[in-house]
């Protein structure tokens, strides 16, 4: 039971305003053995435009997984999450909250908004790479998720 059997790469949308984090995630995902395409949005507004295929994102694929940073300008991760989870066309997409915050209030808030998973970005590079591997393996290989036609 593997999404890879469908023969298409996994589409991942990474929403993060920090280019350093985007690059780091890219580097970490290189190490994972899943065939994938990483798309990035630098804030919540862009992420929603991508998901709703607005403007320049008219041909954007529907992501299989969203990695969503909590602290962003304009529209933060919690707001994006809320938007996704109340949209019938998007609410099935697994959302992993990625953040540097260890605040228990932040964690509870995102679970209240139906985040599928909350991950604190580790300080240590090896742990960061391990974390990215576990996320992609768990959400994309182990689970059979309700996939819609593209």
């Amino acid at each position: 039971m593997n999404n890879q059997t469908s023969g298409r790469p996994i589409e991942i949308l990474l929403v993060d305003d920090n280019p350093g984090d985007v690059r780091l995630t890219t580097e970490a995902l290189k190490d994972s053995n899943v065939q994938k395409r990483l798309h990035t949005a630098k804030d919540g507004i862009e992420a929603i435009a991508f998901l709703r295929r607005k403007g320049e994102y008219a041909d954007a694929p529907r992501p299989d997984l969203i990695l969503l940073d909590l602290n962003m300008p304009r529209m933060d991760g919690a707001q994006v999450l809320e938007e996704i989870k109340k949209d019938p066309a998007l609410q099935h997409i697994p959302v992993v909250m990625l953040t540097g915050s260890q605040e228990i209030e932040d964690i509870i808030k995102t679970y209240d908004l139906h985040a599928n998973c909350y991950v604190i970005k580790p300080m240590d590079l090896e742990q960061f790479i391990m974390m990215m591997k576990s996320i992609t393996n768990f959400w994309l290989n182990t689970l059979k998720l309700p996939m819609e036609e593209k």
Partner: protein, 375 residues
């Protein structure tokens, strides 16, 4: 002269004497004194006139409440009535306005008397303005200190929290450099990268501990009943690896139940037991925890057989980032005991250490269960 006349003469003399005594006492008293009838001054002494800034003669016949600051008049009237009924015997404080329009704080006591065969009130007044001002300043200072402490705590919290993000970048990318380019550049580059990686790692630990320190005050949990034997067992379980590796024996007496923040008390015991194991001599560490209760205060003792602490450092070991050894000898940030002190203080207690180098240390800390803590 018959006996009757002689007797009344003696009595008249005694009355005269006691009138004179009263007059002297009244007039020369360093306490403001007066007699009021129907709300008006009938008799005032020099000190009262001095407090009010008038001549004595200017006060006679004037309504006494007229000198009380308008806002305080109702309270003064009520207090005087209560006191005259014998309901309370303590003085009460209020503000008066002097002839020079200066406001002063006074404390007054009153008693019901007869004066010239009519009901009257005898009052005594002391000028307490200076004391009030000192109190006021003290209150101000206390508020100021509380505010600035809260601000500092918030400051430390925000700093340690917000610095984590950029530090994660430094730390991740120096590690990525090390991973990709070690042995690919030259020896200098390898050395530089090593120091950068190490520096970032140490800063991480410092920030982590500083954040924990600031959280003692800002993120504490409400107090509840806590069984200290359970707490110590939890701390021991958290230190399992260190205890096994060092062959330490950690024992404790029967321990009481206290009122406190469970998570913080586990951290407190964990830091103290952890230190006892870390700063050990060549022999296996022995740690013993005991407790003594007196009224609402429980004093715990955590005794070890470790390297001990020079008494000259017995205060400074509790300061933040205080280390008595090099990082090569004993790793750590120097925050452990500062966190302990903060936790103990939040529980209304004190922490101290008694030790001689080479003879082990005993850390004492108290927990006050009579509402010493703050959330």
């Amino acid at each position: 002269m018959d006996q009757q006349t002689a007797k009344s003469k003696i009595m008249a003399g005694e009355i005269k004497q006691s009138k004179e005594l009263f007059r002297i006492l009244f007039q020369r008293s360093p306490i403001g004194a007066y007699i009021i009838q129907n709300g008006h001054f009938r008799l005032v002494n020099r000190q009262l006139a001095y407090i009010l800034g008038y001549e004595e003669s200017e006060l006679i016949g004037r309504p006494s409440l007229g000198f009380v600051l308008a806002e305080d008049r109702d309270a003064v009237r009520e207090n005087a009535i209560r006191m005259l009924k014998g309901g309370c015997s303590l003085g009460y404080e209020f503000r008066i306005v002097t002839k020079q329009a200066k406001v002063k704080w006074v404390m007054e006591t009153v008693a019901p008397i007869y004066y010239q065969r009519k009901r009257a009130t005898l009052g005594n007044v002391v000028d307490v303005t200076e004391r009030k001002q000192v109190e006021e300043r003290l209150n101000q200072t206390t508020l100021e200190i509380q505010r600035s402490n809260a601000e500092l705590e918030q400051f430390a919290y925000v700093i340690s929290h917000d610095l984590q993000e950029p530090l994660r970048m430094v730390s991740s990318y120096t590690q990525l450099l090390a991973k990709r380019y070690s042995n690919k550049l030259d020896a200098d580059a390898d050395e530089f990268i090593t120091y950068a990686v190490d520096g970032a790692k140490r800063m991480q630990m410092l920030l982590h501990d500083l954040l924990e320190y600031s959280r003692v005050g800002t993120q504490g949990k409400p107090f509840s009943l806590v069984n200290c034997a359970d707490i110590v067992e939890q701390a021991i379980a958290n230190l399992k690896i260190a205890i096994e590796e060092s062959g330490a024996s950690v024992t404790h007496d029967v321990l009481p139940t206290v009122i406190g923040d469970e998570g913080q008390l586990v951290r407190l015991f964990q830091n103290l037991i952890g230190n006892a194991i870390k700063f050990r001599r060549d022999e296996p560490p022995q740690v013993h925890i005991s407790a003594q209760r007196r009224n609402y205060v429980v004093t715990f003792a955590v005794k070890d057989n470790g390297i001990g602490i020079d008494p000259q450092h017995s205060q400074s070991v509790f300061e933040i980032f205080r280390r008595l050894h090099t990082r090569e000898e004993y790793p750590g940030t120097g925050m452990g005991l500062a966190i302990c002190k903060k936790i103990v203080e939040r529980h209304g207690g004190h922490i101290s250490v008694q030790s001689k180098p080479g003879q082990g240390s005993t850390f004492y800390f108290s927990i006050n269960m009579a509402g010493g803590g703050s959330a």
